[in-house]
């Protein structure tokens, strides 16, 4: 099942320039694949390659989107990151996919395994990301 940008906007709390997903494919309730899209303001100056902030934010949003598909609601806050490993940081967003898979959840705490693959399918960035969903 595919979600386009306007459908993603309906589901997520973030708006421009912080919403960084443009297409999400729901594989099942526990995994998604996503394409990155960034607002023009972030592409003005990319002097040192892809800013890690954008990569982490987009990975976190992919995981958050996945948990919302499995029923989590409210505002999601990033509360932890473990083992974020970066093999490659200079890439075009058109050439990569974010993969997010549920690891474990307990009450409103949700742990995900998230990784970015390049065109050939190799993992170039991996991380374990933990969110907490707060009802508003």
């Amino acid at each position: 099942m595919l979600f386009n940008e306007s459908e993603i906007r309906e589901i997520m709390y973030q708006t421009d320039p912080m919403l960084m997903l443009k297409l999400v494919e729901k594989i099942d309730d526990m995994s998604v694949k996503a394409d990155i899209n960034i607002d023009n303001i972030w592409s003005k100056e990319l002097a040192v390659g892809t800013p890690i902030f954008i990569v982490i934010e987009a990975m976190g949003q992919s995981a958050e989107f996945m948990w919302r598909q499995s029923g989590k609601t409210g505002k999601a806050l990033l509360i932890g990151i473990n083992d974020l490993e970066i093999e490659e940081i200079r890439f075009s967003f058109d050439n990569v996919k974010i993969n997010a898979k549920a690891n474990i959840s307990y009450r409103n705490f949700c742990k995900s395994n998230v990784w970015i693959t390049n065109k050939s399918g190799s993992k170039i960035i991996t991380a374990e990301i933990i969110h907490c969903f707060f009802s508003s």
Binding site: Y13, T15, D16, P17, E45, I52, K75, I81
Partner: protein, 142 residues
């Protein structure tokens, strides 16, 4: 102390990615303290979240990474060769407090390992002396 002019000549980052306003303490290869003032007119404010701005955790890491890299700053070096470091790993990162517009985000970093062109820095982020985030960042330097 390093002012903005010195920071800009050491780092390749520019608006909207420059996340360092001042470096207060540098003990090269040992310890670093610097800060970023969080303003309500920064690009992220509109989108994270609408009408309830909360400085994103991903930007706290970006701020830690930029300030943490100054632990390896050497004033005598050619400025063009300064701080060409790349973040290669983030671990044990915990976000335990909120950072809001008007806050001063102070980053304190301690070098916990340094071998050849690789280094690890344990960073703590504070607002008003209260810890809001902590984690270990690993760098590779060219």
């Amino acid at each position: 102390m390093l002012d903005l002019e010195s920071i800009v000549s050491a780092l390749p980052h520019r608006y909207p990615f420059l996340m360092v306003d001042r470096i207060l303490v540098i003990e090269t290869n040992k310890h670093i303290i610097g800060y970023k003032n969080i303003s309500n007119n920064e690009p992220w404010v509109q989108g994270h979240f609408p009408n309830q701005p909360l400085f994103p955790g991903a930007l706290i890491i970006e701020t830690m990474a930029q300030i943490g890299g100054f632990a390896f700053y050497q004033e005598s070096k050619n400025k063009k060769e300064q701080l060409r470091g790349y973040l290669i790993k983030v671990d044990k990162m915990k976000f335990i407090g909120q950072v809001l517009p008007g806050d001063r985000l102070v980053i304190e970093g301690d070098v916990i390992a340094s071998v050849n062109n690789m280094a690890q820095v344990k960073c703590v982020a504070k607002v008003d002396e209260t810890i809001v985030a902590s984690g270990v960042l690993s760098y590779a330097f060219q």
